[in-house]
Amino acid sequence: MGALVTTASAIGGVGLVCAVALALAARFLGVEEDQRIEEVVDLLPGANCGGCGFAGCADYAKAMVIEGAAINLCAPCGAETLQALSELLGRKAEATEKEVAIVLCGGNATSAPRRSAYNGVADCAAAHAVGGGDKVCQYGCLGYGSCARVCPSGAIELVDGLATVHPDLCIGCGACVRTCPRHLIKMVPATRVVHVLCSSRAKGPVVKKACTVGCIGCSICTKLAEDNAIRMEGPLAVVDYSKQFDHPEIAEKCPGHCIVRHQTPNTEHRASLKEPAGTS
């Protein structure tokens, strides 16, 4: 019985001393933290995609509360979250238009041939560094999936050697835009339906040799598109995404077959995405 008491009181005593020490530490060494930081963290999607320019959601929350960073930088956040943030922090912010990534290249394994065998590191930047890539086209998608690997929501799929964004899965963080060594990926408003899927700055005849779905610079589309919604930048037709525009026959009229027109624009906003917590 005596041993039991000794043990219980010793361990209990250690626990008590520790508890008192911790309580005192929390009382005297405690740092006042703004309660709102935690609330803001809970509101944010928790994907830690870094699209806002801060190191993860918690860092951005801190910046919003303490340094007064803009509250509309989070791409995956929907309008509801923005509303909640604005109420919590008492600041107004214009909702930014939902943007999704698009790969401005249509050259898959069949339409854009390769000129050499590449069997190095399976990474686009590495392939691009070796003699300008293994594709005939010097501008097109290399298809080694670097963008797909950085995508936090798994929205990019390699379809027949071509990176393809699923707009309904894209959270708009822009990680792929920063990764693509050929700068083929662009963030565009989700409501746009007409895209020129080519980024080649080469002249028409060169493009024709490299790819069957490349922009040959004929400028027919610029005439069809009112209000300069498509304009020529050198030999390449480029969509001006600041303008909402649609033309029912524009895809068929393109002799280079590089213009696509989606029938159903993706206007639905994706709900916030929670990642499973990391293991310890």
């Binding site: 041993a3 250690v14 405690g30 293991t279």
Partner: protein, 192 residues
């Protein structure tokens, strides 16, 4: 002096905590994806293991042994280490926010990590004195850091490679860890 040197070599290379004693496997696999996070974890582990060795030695020598309740060792150690790490966490936040920023997220993760508890128990088992116990804690954490940094480097390379589909991710990481462990077996017998 030679004694201490042998202790360090023994704990870092021969009886590496992760690769030979298989302690602290969860942070070894969990935070070995990026070198920057791995280094942060190493810092936290070195700090916690060294100081926990000291604190726990005091508890053992001045509480458990005099009261003859050595069988309560594990519970007492967990209790003391956990509160000690919490205390350090709170204190760091106040005293050095920069250091807290670097180590902060890792401290709670390794509060009662098996490597931390392991070093405390081994100190008792080997009947080390205070100085030796602290040195052993420090050396063991260095060994952990060495293993973690090597492994992270390997995993960063593997990320860029193209393993067969069935091996991708954790599978190839575990195979790598196994090979690394085999490599460290080469040190067996270096120090008795």
């Amino acid at each position: 002096m030679t004694e201490y040197l042998l202790l360090v070599v023994g704990a870092v290379l021969v009886n590496n905590f992760v690769l030979t004693r298989f302690l602290g496997i969860c942070p070894f696999l969990g935070v070995s994806k990026k070198l920057s996070t791995a280094l942060g974890m190493c810092g936290a582990v070195v700090f916690v293991m060294t100081s926990a060795s000291a604190v726990v030695w005091l508890v053992e020598a001045y509480l458990l042994v005099p009261l003859k309740i050595e069988y309560m060792r594990t519970i007492a150690f967990i209790l003391v280490i956990a509160s000690f790490v919490q205390l350090v966490d709170i204190a760091l936040k106040k005293i050095s926010p920069a250091l807290h920023g670097a180590l902060g997220i890792f401290l709670p993760l390794i509060t009662t990590n098996c490597a931390v508890l392991g070093v405390a128990r081994l100190n008792v088992q080997f009947k080390y004195g205070f100085g030796k116990a602290v040195m052993f804690g420090f050396a063991a954490s260095l060994g952990f850091s060495l293993a973690l940094v090597i492994f992270t480097g390997l995993r960063e390379k593997i990320d860029r490679a193209d393993p067969p589909k069935a091996f991708q991710g954790v599978a190839i990481a575990l195979v790598t860890a196994g090979l690394l462990s085999l490599a460290f077996m080469g040190f067996a017998g270096l120090v008795k």
